[in-house]
Symmetry: C2
Subunit: 274 residues, 2 copies
């Protein structure tokens, strides 16, 4: 056990608020861990940007988090996990985990008929990382990807169960109708907020995979493997989580308080590009 490091905080970052669904899962499954969260609200969304730009932005954020003394980093954004994680991993003195591989692994291992759908941003789908990772675990799986760019805007508009959102989801999910798919990965951190709309269209027979849940499980294993899982006995126990954003701190705080199990008192604004 690495006594010095186990009580250090975790760094968690996302392009904006979506990654809070991952932070929420970490708080549930690893309640003894402290989180330093960064949401890049000034430059959101990442899902329409290029690999080079997403990697540059991710690198800036990782350096910020390292400066805060984090013991490990969680990339709580599918696009950044797909585009930036592997390149950045090699530069890092601490372990890093994204949301794509844990979600892909569980889908590959739990599918009954080997037909798996993936929905996500344009960037995540075009990266093909879900497909490649599923094939590492289940070489015969058939993987069908579909970019759903309007979903993020609809979630941010708050139209979670609106007839318009249902119509958009029906349009996007049309791609899967004839596929026989038994598993669908919600490959963007906003999408679990549309779970009941997706469930209504797909029926009960399709298993919906939420990578946030699997990522928190994978994180526990990663921390144990490095001997840095917080045992809850350290001096830092009870110290609050910290939240940083690159824009609109008040709006972020309000959204966070609507979905997190704890109350955030403050989100601090920083200029991440400097």
């Amino acid at each position: 056990m690495n006594h010095e490091k186990q009580y250090a905080p975790l760094g968690v970052f996302d392009s904006g608020v979506g990654g809070l669904t991952v932070a929420r899962e970490i708080m549930r499954q690893l309640p003894q861990e402290r989180i330093i969260y960064f949401g890049d609200t000034a430059r959101v969304p990442y899902g329409t940007k290029s690999r080079e730009t997403v990697t540059r932005y991710s690198r800036q954020i990782v350096h910020f988090l390292l400066g805060k003394g984090v013991k490990a980093i969680v990339v709580a954004c599918n696009t950044a996990s797909a585009f930036a994680l592997e390149e950045i991993r090699e530069e890092l003195p601490v372990p890093i985990i994204g949301v794509v591989k844990p979600g892909a692994k569980v889908a590959a291992e739990t599918t009954g008929n080997g037909i798996i759908g993936v929905i996500g941003t344009e960037a995540t789908i075009s990266s093909q990382l879900y497909t490649r990772t599923i094939h590492e675990h289940n070489p015969n799986a058939v993987v069908i990807g579909k970019a759903c760019p309007l979903f993020v805007s609809l979630v941010e508009e708050g139209w979670l169960k609106d007839p318009i959102t249902v119509a958009v989801a029906q349009r996007y999910l049309e791609s899967f109708r004839q596929s026989g798919m038994d598993t669908l990965i919600m490959g963007c951190t906003h999408y679990p907020l549309l779970r009941s709309t997706l469930r209504g269209i797909l029926g009960e027979t399709v298993n919906l995979v939420n990578p946030a849940y699997e990522t928190a499980r994978g994180l526990k294993e990663l921390l144990e493997g490095h001997g840095i899982l917080n045992d809850g006995n350290g001096v830092c126990q009870g110290t609050k989580h910290q939240f940083y954003v690159s824009d609109a701190a008040e709006k972020f705080k309000n959204f966070a308080n609507s979905i997190l199990p704890c109350e955030i008192k403050e989100a601090q604004l920083i200029h991440i590009e400097e």
Copy 2:
């Protein structure tokens, strides 16, 4: 006439591709002018960001354009015009014009019954700049603003006349149903691409104002006023327009070639924050 300056290019910028509708109007109305266009495709959209962030980004872009020797600057983005223009104007050695004031002025002057609607991003509507400017020209006008955040995503998805887009537009325009409005300002550079959908819902009696058209007219007056309108006889005549973006240059080029009257051979990628 300022001979040295009249043959210098114009700087035109937007958060992304929307400002190309303004560039197109300038090319039509002032074909002798050269344009240096910057689209901040890495940080698009501006419409959900704070005043402080939009102003900081706009300032970076303006400095880039000044470095290119522009004789005047057109803020071809409603959000940046609403949030950043007045603050930046004071720092500039060249004249600057935005899209809000020309559109507001013509709406104020042409309305029959004095009831004017404005649709735009959250930022543009919350800034109240359209309302204030309309009241400068027509103190008794009733101005009704409505943010339509999904419109940009729908345009970028290419669903310009789709039944889903019609349903979204009906929802947003519901705010104006009982108002008696005779004029609607399309206060975001993406929205003129939805003109026929808006027209279908509103009928023929509502005048749709496209600020891009009014901005190009206002620009001509501004350049004449400063003695820097290009007379078309200079050595630079025929030199091509130049396009710069902060991300995804190829995608930008393809979009630009679908809406501009001339063919773009290249959009150059630059890191605007450095």
